[in-house]
């Protein structure tokens, strides 16, 4: 009897430790926010180019995360990408004419939406649409523009040197 009690205790401790480890991995390592659930309001914004933005990406103001990207879809009425963001309920004083821009965290980091406050007295509420947006910068476009302008410059120089 005594031995079975010891076995049960050992097994119980083992199972407890195992589940504690699983719980730790799920809650502490991932960026899941439990309890936030559906709390918050949704605003949308249309972008010419969302680049590598993904659902779940942070929405931040001055670097403080205030919400997450919920959905990205293509809007045929405007021929733009329509991004739905869920903003935490605490941040209900964002001016209506604020602008949303897509930035990249670090050189190789993920993309996020940064919101710059506007000057309006009315604030964003559930279902509002943000008018002022700035698209993601696509690195390839930037590089190709740079290269083309260099090539054009060099072409002009070359033409002058060899008559």
């Amino acid at each position: 009897m005594r031995q079975t009690r010891a076995i049960e205790l050992g097994t119980g401790l083992f199972v407890l430790l195992g589940f504690a480890a699983l719980f730790f991995l799920v809650t502490q390592i991932t960026n899941r926010e439990f309890g936030l659930g559906d709390a918050g309001f949704r605003v949308t914004a249309s972008f010419e180019q969302v680049g590598g933005l993904k659902p779940g990406a942070p929405v931040s103001m001055s670097g403080v995360t205030i919400g997450r990207v919920e959905r990205i879809e293509y809007d045929f009425s405007q021929y733009k990408a329509r991004v739905t963001m869920r903003i935490d309920r605490r941040y209900d004083r964002i001016p209506e004419d604020s602008d949303a821009a897509i930035y990249t965290a670090g050189l190789l980091g993920g993309q996020y939406i940064g919101i710059g406050p506007g000057g309006s007295e009315t604030f964003l509420a559930d279902g509002d649409h943000m008018e002022f947006t700035q698209s993601a910068i696509v690195l390839e476009n930037l590089i190709s523009k740079f290269l083309f302008s260099r090539a054009a410059e060099q072409g002009a120089d070359g033409a002058q040197e060899t008559p």
């Binding site: 076995i7 049960e8 097994t11 199972v15 195992g18 699983l22 991995l25 799920v26 960026n31 993920g110």
Partner: protein, 256 residues
């Protein structure tokens, strides 16, 4: 040439027969599972044998694997100037690959061999035949609790391995190599997703079923001699290890 072909045919025949025997045995275990779970005492005892007794070796291995990961990861990432990503690298490596795979290999070595040799010895000393004589189904009474004990233990062991490994990586990366602790954890949290954790859990569950099945099958079907028990134990480790690595590739391809 015809002799060679015949050889090939015979060995193919043997392989297909063995596969069929495994499948039938697995079906038999599956059919008995609900009834075995109604009497959990035997299963609890086996969770103790397969899981709780493997805990020390799994934790120790996890710690050292994590520490090596911290060291190697730091060396690699430092060359790209992004040593803050060490947390992400260690967490993804441990959760998705090293945790399930190394735990399964250790599990096959520690618990699988114990199961196989125990069952093989029962077979060799006619205990299994005695049960059949007493109209006790040895599969339900002896094999099934051991199988279920292994299946339950494996994901828990893998989770413990990953967690300890992460602390090992943190120990080396943060305390020894000087990665910023906040960066270590926050980068990890920002990048690792629930799906990554789930991938590891799914893998460890599948490995648990595979390793336990191989161990109980080989033990139960061993030749009733001292040599047979030895061979069953060896086969358990060899088959389990190869199977785990093969399944790992397939699962990774499927889950990625």
């Amino acid at each position: 040439m015809p002799a060679l072909l015949r050889e090939l045919g015979v060995s193919m025949h043997g392989a297909v027969t063995a596969l069929g025997a495994y499948a039938l045995f697995a079906a038999r275990l599956l059919a008995g599972t609900p009834r075995a779970l109604l009497r959990p005492r035997l299963v609890i005892e086996q969770v103790h044998n397969a899981g709780a007794l493997s805990l020390v070796i799994v934790m120790l291995s996890g710690l050292f694997v994590g520490m090596v990961l911290g060291l190697q990861g730091f060396d690699l990432l430092e060359r790209f100037g992004s040593e803050e990503s060490l947390g992400t690298a260690a967490a993804l490596g441990l959760l998705k690959e090293l945790g399930p795979v190394i735990t399964a290999l250790l599990f096959a070595g520690r618990a699988g061999t114990a199961l196989a040799s125990e069952l093989g010895l029962m077979r060799a000393t006619d205990q299994i035949a005695a049960m059949e004589m007493m109209a006790v189904d040895p599969v339900r009474r002896v094999v099934l609790p051991r199988f279920l004990g292994g299946v339950i233990s494996m994901p828990l062991l893998a989770a413990v391995f990953s967690m300890i490994g992460l602390f090992g990586a943190q120990l080396v990366g943060v305390q020894l190599m000087g990665v910023d602790q906040g960066q270590f954890w926050s980068q990890m949290r920002a990048t690792v997703e629930l799906g990554d954790v789930m991938e590891g859990v799914v893998k460890s569950c599948v490995f648990g079923v595979a390793c336990s099945l191989v161990a109980v099958y080989e033990g139960f079907h061993s030749a009733p001699t001292a040599e047979g028990v030895g061979r069953a134990t060896t086969r358990t480790v060899v088959i389990s290890s190869v199977l785990v690595l093969l399944l790992d590739y397939l699962l990774t391809a499927a889950l990625l």
